[in-house]
């Protein structure tokens, strides 16, 4: 298939942005990620697309600094990532908010670390401002458990944005939402990403979501997780959902699904091979 404009891995290098080189990660001796080479430019919207269990969440944890690589390096703007930092905000799938704090308190707690020079009333106003931006202006005193999954994720996005982090790391943030809420939040995210422009790394297993959101899609294969292909998404912004019926869009998503199918077949072949060797 030549429909996809494939990029050479690591073809665009600069010191700005996130740089991943020869990354290896193993969990208790089992390789999870191998030979990941990736450059994420400042202001880029990158989607990491892969089937369940391919290590895409692990990749995000490594970028966040929650785990450290077994081998290889990850750096941001030239500085090696050794742990979590407020310059890289994280939105988890469904647990970014502490259930014992209101939406506003959740954001205020985060702000007390990112903006220690400001007082409580400034933090409250700032939290209210960002909650309003994500459409939760009236729910700032609510506890997360009383809100729908979609509203909780809006709150999580508000928290990440309020910190003012130049990089946003998102781990399947809309994975647990119904299709209508997911579409709404995708559009909200694109709107918020545009100004002020941030670098976004967005993990998903949804091909359409990746193609709709991203400048570039990195396709991961499994066992161990590795990059199968990088795809520059050719569609103009601002995008609309009419895109889903374009021939080019359909071809591209067909191409990615074909990559996944090949990857699964390869893995089954490898598994039966090793089973034969063992017996």
């Amino acid at each position: 298939m030549s429909a996809a404009p494939a990029l050479q891995p690591g073809s665009r290098r600069s010191t700005l942005g996130i740089d991943v080189r020869a990354l290896q990660f193993a969990y208790e001796g089992t390789p999870v990620l191998s030979d990941i080479d990736l450059h994420i430019a400042e202001g880029e919207f990158l989607c990491v697309l892969g089937p369940s269990g391919c290590g895409k969440t692990t990749l995000l944890r490594l970028l966040a600094g929650l785990d450290l690589p077994v081998a290889g390096t990850i750096s941001y703007n030239g500085a090696s990532i050794q742990g979590p930092s407020l310059e890289r905000g994280v939105v988890f799938q469904n647990y970014s908010l502490f259930p014992w704090l209101t939406l506003s308190e959740n954001i205020e707690l985060a702000l007390s670390k990112s903006h220690p020079q400001h007082d409580v009333s400034w933090r409250q106003a700032h939290a209210q401002d960002y909650l309003t931006r994500v459409g939760l202006g009236d729910s700032s005193e609510q506890y997360p458990s009383l809100l729908s999954g979609g509203m909780q994720q809006r709150g999580a996005i508000a928290r990440a944005l309020a910190l003012g982090s130049p990089v946003l790391l998102m781990d399947e943030p809309f994975g647990a939402l119904d299709p209508i809420n997911r579409a709404k939040l995708q559009d909200l995210l694109l709107e918020l990403w545009a100004s002020p422009r941030k670098t976004v790394v967005f993990i998903t297993h949804d091909v359409e979501e990746a193609l709709y959101l991203a400048d570039r899609v990195v396709v991961l294969g499994s066992s161990p997780g590795r990059i199968i292909q990088e795809i520059a998404v050719p569609f103009e912004r601002p995008r609309s959902r009419k895109l889903f019926s374009f021939r080019e869009f359909i071809n591209l998503s067909g191409h990615i699904n074909e990559l996944f199918r090949e990857d699964v077949l390869q893995r089954i072949a490898a598994d039966s091979q090793s089973a034969l060797v063992r017996s």
């Binding site: 929650l66 979590p84 994280v90 988890f92 014992w100 670390k113 506890y143 997360p144």
Partner: protein, 287 residues
């Protein structure tokens, strides 16, 4: 008997008042509950009160038919109630004395158990250091310390306070440390992402996340506190709930003694209810 008409047909589920309240296992076979009320009597939900009424009735029967005891060794409910009313001022003063020992010890044991439990539970090195000692010291029945505490400490007040402290500290500490040690990873990740410092992390994340376990520790601790306190008072108090019971046992005034036991039961029950309210309010976010 029209109102009992449904009894003949146990398959009519709506007549099983118990079915809506008890978790009857669904095994695909109709299970007839062993007890059910005719609808017309409107007794559903009042089973607890009925049982207590039954106990009082039985008590009345036994006390009025017992030849061996006489009414002073096994006082009737009515006599006990009268005695309770008469002794109420003395009992209330005794309650104040008991609570003057109980509350400071309870507060101190809970604070120390929670703080130390949070720190030990989240610090592997401290955990390795303290756990072997805790495993040895915590199962010692705290009542065993009472005679020595009374001998060792200058006043009865401090001795009783000390044994109450021991009884409360261990369950609170162990539950807190276990809860904090088993903190779900996503809370830890979330706190790390925000860059919370250790004290903030303990106060704003680990403490609230561990509250369910802390409350089960306090629950056990409160029961222990009353046991320790009343047992200590049997040994050597001048006033207090346990002392009241012991005093009138020595005088062979059994109506007063039974009244004292009943009253103590009520005090413990109210204390547990208060704790339950506090727990419900604190854990509002748990769903």
């Amino acid at each position: 008997m029209a109102s009992f008409g449904n009894q003949s047909n146990p398959a009519v589920v709506s007549t099983f008042s118990a079915a809506s309240q008890l978790p009857v296992p669904d095994v695909g076979i109709a299970i007839a509950p062993s007890v059910y009320w005719p609808k017309a009597l409107r007794l559903q939900g009042k089973e607890g009160v009925l049982f207590i009424a039954g106990v009082i009735l039985l008590w009345q029967l036994i006390s009025s038919f017992s030849h061996f005891s006489g009414k002073y060794l096994f006082p009737s409910p009515l006599l006990t109630a009268q005695t309770l009313w008469v002794s109420l001022p003395e009992l209330l003063i005794g309650t104040v004395y008991s609570f003057l020992i109980l509350l400071p010890s309870l507060a101190f044991a809970i604070s120390l158990g929670v703080v130390w439990g949070l720190i030990v539970g989240t610090t592997p090195a401290l955990n390795r250091m303290f756990s072997p000692f805790a495993r040895f010291a915590s199962p010692v029945p705290p009542t065993i310390y009472i005679p020595y505490a009374i001998a060792l400490l200058p006043t009865f007040h401090t001795a009783a306070g000390f044994v109450v402290f021991i009884g409360v500290f261990w369950p609170v500490f162990l539950n807190t440390a276990n809860g904090a040690g088993a903190l779900p990873q996503h809370y830890r990740d979330n706190a790390r992402v925000l860059g919370l410092a250790k004290v903030e992390y303990l106060r704003r994340v680990v403490f609230p996340a561990t509250l369910p376990q802390i409350f089960s520790g306090i629950n056990v601790g409160l029961v222990f506190a009353f046991i320790m306190l009343t047992v200590a008072e049997l040994f050597g108090a001048s006033k207090g709930l346990g002392r009241f019971v012991q005093l009138y046992a020595d005088y062979a005034d059994y109506p007063r003694m039974v009244a004292g036991i009943l009253y103590t039961g009520v005090v413990v029950w109210i204390s547990m209810e208060v704790l339950e309210r506090i727990k419900k309010r604190s854990l509002f976010w748990l769903r």
